[in-house]
């Protein structure tokens, strides 16, 4: 075996290995999408975060603008406090932006969806989003559904007079 050929082969092998590692890091994992650009943190307090995890996506109109940075529990207010790290490219959200926790698909992962309001002033880094909507917990929904359908199915002992539906219309 020629010495030069062998060295070229080893060089090729090492280059190929490093290229594979690089490909795994850049293309397969999520390194390219986080930590690259500047970002800032805002927080939001939720009654119930359901299955939200650290690193879950934060979206506006379906566009990913950041990730969940940390999840804490506020023992004073008895609420979960979620820190959202938002990309600096999306730095102008109105003060009355609302945050909701939704589920992607029926069994998918949960994410935070922001809904911009109409205020003129913008959220600053470190601000807290006031308007939040908790995650829907499947058991609660099923429980409510069962309860209401059971209430509808059981025959009432005596037909009560229908209460007049209150109409708000004049």
């Amino acid at each position: 075996m020629n010495n030069r050929t062998m060295e070229i082969a080893v060089g090729l092998f090492v280059a190929l290995g490093i290229a594979a590692l690089f490909m795994l890091a850049m293309q397969v994992s999520n390194m390219s999408s986080v930590g690259r650009s500047e970002s800032y943190v805002i927080t939001a307090a939720f009654q119930n975060i359901g299955g939200l995890k650290v690193r879950s996506p934060v979206t506006v109109s379906g566009v990913r603008v950041g990730r969940v940075e940390a999840i804490d529990y506020d023992t004073q207010a008895y609420e979960a406090v979620v820190s959202l790290r938002i990309d600096n490219n999306y730095a102008t959200f109105p003060e009355d932006t609302s945050a909701s926790i939704f589920t992607a698909g029926l069994l998918g992962e949960q994410y935070v969806a922001l809904e911009p309001g109409g205020a003129i002033a913008n959220l600053k880094p470190g601000d807290r989003i006031q308007l939040t909507q908790s995650a829907l917990v499947m058991e609660q929904i099923i429980g409510q559904f069962l309860y209401s359908s059971a209430a509808r199915d059981t025959p009432e002992p005596e037909p009560e007079p229908e209460p007049e539906p209150e109409t708000t219309e004049p």
């Binding site: 062998m6 092998f13 290995g17 594979a20 795994l24 293309q27 994992s29 999520n30 999408s33």
Partner: protein, 259 residues
């Protein structure tokens, strides 16, 4: 009765003796590793025979393992209407488990056995004692470069295995079965974590390279210097490496992903 007890005792003592010799031998190799910086050419030659010559089998097996994962994953996921997650399934199983483990098993079969046979034959033909007579330390000259080459090649081989496998899964899933290309990659990128999955996979492969190199070196160096002894040592290398890699894989997985 007493004979049975005696053979049991001898087997136990022999086992621990071998274990102790193996550990002392490892310390000896490790103490010689820094000296390898002065003689990179020795390592280079071994990188060729250990790494480059293993490349082909790793490439081909990686491709086929990835393609099988793509097929099987698709058939399972399509029942749940989740065939978009095929990329996640293929990438996670390769990066976390199959890449390091299968690459290590192939490495033991292709390179580990060759290393053991080479060193065992050197011992059987008294080349190693010849070196000692010339005041050349065979561990320094023969064993350490091979060990280092195994240690360096394993992570590269495992990474190549995973990368090729992912492309194999991509070829089957996207190319043949019609999974959406964008969903394949984006879901993969969403779920595969650089630190949690890729780094841990690399750590696994380094550990496996260490173990595979150690076992191959020790079996060769410790072989009975006869034709039969060398053949037995070569078999033991493959069997022991496979067992230790699979066992260690469980332990490492439990430590890394067990939470």
């Amino acid at each position: 009765m007493l004979d049975g007890l005696q053979s049991l005792g001898r087997a136990t003592l022999g086992f621990f003796e071998r274990l102790g010799r193996g550990n002392l031998f490892l310390l000896q190799i490790l103490s010689h590793l820094p000296g390898m910086l002065l003689r990179p050419r020795l390592v280079l030659t071994q990188l060729y025979s250990v790494g480059v010559l293993t490349l082909l089998i790793v490439l081909v097996s990686g491709l086929f393992v990835g393609m099988v994962l793509g097929l099987q994953g698709y058939n399972t996921l399509v029942d749940f209407g989740a065939e978009e997650s095929l990329g996640v399934v293929v990438a996670l199983s390769l990066v976390r488990e199959l890449g390091p483990v299968v690459a290590a098993l192939l490495f033991a079969g292709r390179a580990g056995s060759a290393l053991t046979a080479e060193i065992g034959l050197m011992k059987a033909t008294e080349q190693l004692s010849g070196m000692e007579m010339m005041a050349v330390d065979p561990v320094q000259r023969v064993v350490a470069p091979r060990f280092l080459a195994a240690l360096l090649s394993m992570p590269l081989l495992a990474a190549i295995f995973s990368a090729v496998g992912i492309y194999g899964g991509h070829f089957i899933g996207v190319g043949l079965l019609g999974v959406d290309d964008g969903a394949f990659w984006s879901q993969m990128q969403n779920s595969v974590d650089l630190r949690g999955d890729i780094y841990n996979g690399v750590i696994k492969s380094i550990v496996f390279g260490f173990v595979a190199g150690w076992i191959a070196m020790f079996e060769g160096y410790d072989a009975t210097p006869t034709a039969e002894g060398v053949s037995r040592a070569t078999t033991r290398t493959v069997v022991h490496t496979a067992l230790v890699v699979l066992g260690l894989d469980f332990v490492l997985t439990a430590l890394m992903f067990g939470d």
